[in-house]
């Protein structure tokens, strides 16, 4: 215990020498090193006082604030024992104080629900994406997205059910760039064995947990032989430990082509960061758009929930036309993470009833409802089917 707290106070530069992982936890080091520390998962005590959980809320930009207000309204109405600690992050200032405050709040609470923070292009290149900074600082290594077709939503392809697991911290999103000579820019894509093994293991464990039959690794190892080659090799190594699950691989350009023509062949997919970005957006589009799919970012100690496609939705902000489904379902994922399964199922059921039976749709999926109408409908469904709520509608 003393060792780990001492480790946490060490300056960052000493951590790799002593074989400590980025988050400050003693981690197993592969290969020779001075210290062979074993994996000690220091799980902080849950931020639960008097039976109520505290969750960090980051409104973000665009449609984030209004959708998260609806989430709070719904939680209050349904008597969900969750309190939100709101941390605002201003995307137009150059200092990183705001995002570091948010990160500290998440370290304290362990769980967060966030909207997307816009990256201002007028800033110099040293101004990094706030969302990316959050993910890497908290080591939220796995982004999980479950794409399921909703029977009530009109789409070209029906009955899609794909789980996408995307490595969330390295790859092309390492933000390591430099201009060697004026007019020549290099951007580094980093792939490590540690992270590749970790994400592959996560994918297979999840597949087993959910009773899935097949895991497909998406890569471009024919061109990026070393980088994606390493990723693929790690996936194969992990796959050998799960003989009950079928493992295959597919090149990313073929994957996108197959997704738009024959999406039903995919079950669980695991991939590095950038391909994850492309594939998850394609799949979100296939099941009906950015307003329907929730996403979750999991780390060893922290979890952050948001919409799967991370859109700011600037053009539809404050017009009461945004689709609240994705954010509401993300809040249900959060409740599941907090082990408040009854509340999660209640809200999820109400949202799905609104989507599939009542068919109250917002403009993005072809309907004419407003955001508040959809939320009201969800509340009505909760009231008619569930326990006592704060007020009668």
């Amino acid at each position: 215990m003393a060792a780990s707290s001492a480790a946490l106070s060490l300056p960052k530069v000493f951590r790799p020498v002593l074989g400590l992982g980025r988050s400050g936890n003693p981690a197993k080091v592969t290969g020779g090193s001075m210290l062979h520390a074993t994996v000690i998962l220091v799980t902080p005590p849950p931020a639960k006082y008097g039976g109520r959980h505290t969750v960090t809320l980051i409104p973000g930009d665009g449609i984030g604030p209004e959708l998260l207000n609806h989430v709070r309204e719904l939680f209050r109405f349904s008597c969900v024992p969750v309190d939100f600690e709101v941390v605002n992050v201003n995307s137009s200032v150059a200092t990183e104080d705001d995002i570091h405050n948010a990160i500290t709040a998440i370290r304290r609470n362990g769980v967060a629900l966030k909207g997307n923070i816009e990256t201002n292009h007028n800033m110099p290149p040293s101004h990094k994406s706030r969302n990316n900074l959050l993910r890497t600082s908290l080591d939220l290594f796995a982004n999980m997205m479950h794409c399921q077709s909703l029977p009530g939503v009109q789409t070209r392809h029906k009955n899609i059910d794909i789980i996408i697991i995307r490595e969330n911290t390295e790859g092309e999103y390492s933000s390591l760039e430099h201009e060697s000579v004026s007019g020549v820019v290099e951007s580094l894509k980093i792939i490590t064995r540690y992270n590749s093994l970790r994400i592959a293991d996560y994918a297979f464990r999840l597949a087993r947990e959910k009773g899935r039959r097949r895991v497909t690794a998406v890569h471009k190892a024919n061109i990026m032989k070393l980088a994606d080659g390493l990723f693929l090799q790690c996936c194969k190594e992990v796959a050998s430990g799960y003989p009950d699950i079928q493992f295959d691989s597919m090149i990313v350009d073929n994957t996108t082509m197959q997704l738009v023509s024959k999406p039903h062949q995919f079950d669980v997919m695991v991939m590095p960061n950038l391909y994850g970005n492309v594939v998850s957006n394609v799949c979100a589009g296939l099941v009906g758009g950015p307003g329907l799919v929730p996403g979750a970012n999991y780390g060893t100690n922290y979890a952050v929930f948001e919409t799967a496609t991370r859109n700011t939705g600037k053009s539809i902000a404050d017009k009461n036309i945004a689709n609240p489904t994705a954010m509401l379902l993300a809040s249900c994922l959060m409740l599941d993470h907090l082990r408040l399964h009854d509340y999660a199922n209640m809200i999820r059921g109400a949202v799905l009833t609104t989507m599939n039976e009542t068919r109250l749709h917002t403009a993005d999926i072809g309907g004419q409802g407003t955001t508040s109408e959809v939320v009201q409908s969800v509340m009505k469904n909760i009231q008619s089917g569930g326990p006592l709520t704060t007020e009668q509608i």
């Binding site: 290149p125 070209r156 760039e177 201009e179 020549v184 580094l188 990026m224 980088a227 758009g289």
Partner: protein, 345 residues
């Protein structure tokens, strides 16, 4: 015109049949062009790599000379060698002729049903640098870095080509696809160059969109896109995504534009060794690439004639190859198109 009918200028085109089904689909295209009386003179060449002086792999001199003279090439699928010692042929061709732009027009084919209708867009992909520079290192055991290279020159060149293409083909807008929120410097440079070039083409609308937003919107409503310009990796993924929207690589044309006016048009599907030599192949992709070639050469009338014949045959559904849903042979499909072309005279 009376004077024009006297002189028929035959344009030479270097034909690279390729491997697998390459030779039979090339024969099919030549037959159709003959039926259409297109003023093309084919010069067949082989591009299997040979070791030149100094030990460097290069394409045979006859092939290179032919291309340099004719400036236009039509290529079938080439086999990717495993352990042959030399690099991929496509890569060699790209380096030899500095083929910097890969152009793929994706138009829905009436008669070949896909869940997406009314697709009409063009993807223009930078083909020389970006993520495919091939510069990779193992830093320490278990840590690999792959370098993505973006240069001002290449970005400028591809942006200029994209806008000129839009202008020459009466396209209304050009969209730059990027991820400059994450890759601030590299995609930032690419985007800056596109913006600069857009200033000189005020008649064309210029927009910029994140790669993930493009993917999201593409599978929901592809009709909102017109010309898309992007770096190498995004181009690879998006062009294949768009090919998937219209029916796959078996019906998608593609062209590579190089420096010094060289242009090589190709079919992007594989060599299909399992059906090679059995008269089962579908020549549509190579044929549509050849049509793209005719348009590039300014022979719009001929191009329209052959394209219409091909689309009519597919729409009619009477004579279709197996991959299109029928059970006719390649020669029968070709014959049907030739017949239609001749009827149009």
């Amino acid at each position: 015109d009376f004077t024009k009918s006297w002189i028929i200028i035959l344009q030479t085109v270097t034909l690279i049949p390729g491997d697998g089904i390459g030779p039979e689909i090339s024969t099919a295209v030549m037959k159709i062009f003959e039926a259409a009386k297109a003023p093309i003179q084919w010069e067949e060449r082989n591009v299997t790599a040979i070791k030149g002086p100094g030990g460097k792999w290069m394409i045979p001199t006859e092939a290179k000379d032919s291309m340099d003279k004719s400036k236009i090439g039509l290529k079938g699928p080439l086999k990717t060698p495993i352990a042959a010692g030399h690099p991929s042929m496509n890569l060699l061709l790209r380096k030899t002729f500095d083929l910097y732009a890969n152009v793929r027009p994706c138009v829905s084919i009436e008669g070949y049903k896909t869940p997406y209708t009314d697709v009409d867009l063009v993807t223009i992909r930078e083909n020389t640098e970006g993520e495919y520079s091939g510069i990779e290192h193992v830093i320490v055991d278990g840590v690999v870095q792959s370098i993505k290279l973006i240069t001002e020159e290449a970005s400028q060149r591809i942006a200029e080509y994209a806008f000129e293409y839009a202008r020459n083909n009466q396209r209304a807008s050009v969209t730059a696809v990027h991820k400059a929120n994450i890759m601030r410097m590299s995609d930032g440079l690419f985007l800056r160059k596109c913006r600069e070039v857009a200033e000189n083409f005020k008649d064309i609308k210029f927009t910029e969109m994140y790669l993930d937003t493009v993917c999201l919107n593409m599978v929901q409503d592809p009709t909102q896109f017109d010309v898309l310009v992007m770096p190498n990796l995004y181009g690879d993924i998006l062009s294949d995504l768009c090919a998937g929207l219209i029916g796959g690589l078996g019906v998608t044309p593609s062209g590579n534009i190089g420096a010094n006016g060289v242009a090589i048009f190709e079919s992007v599907h594989g060599t299909a060794p399992d059906i090679a030599g059995k008269d089962l192949a579908n020549p549509t992709a190579l044929l549509l690439s050849a049509v793209m070639m005719l348009r590039h050469m300014g022979l719009h009338g001929q191009a329209k004639k052959i394209e219409t014949a091909c689309f009519d045959t597919i729409r009619d559904k009477k004579v279709l190859t197996k991959d299109l849903g029928g059970n006719s042979k390649c020669s029968e499909f070709t014959g049907e198109i030739c017949r239609r072309v001749q009827d149009m005279e």
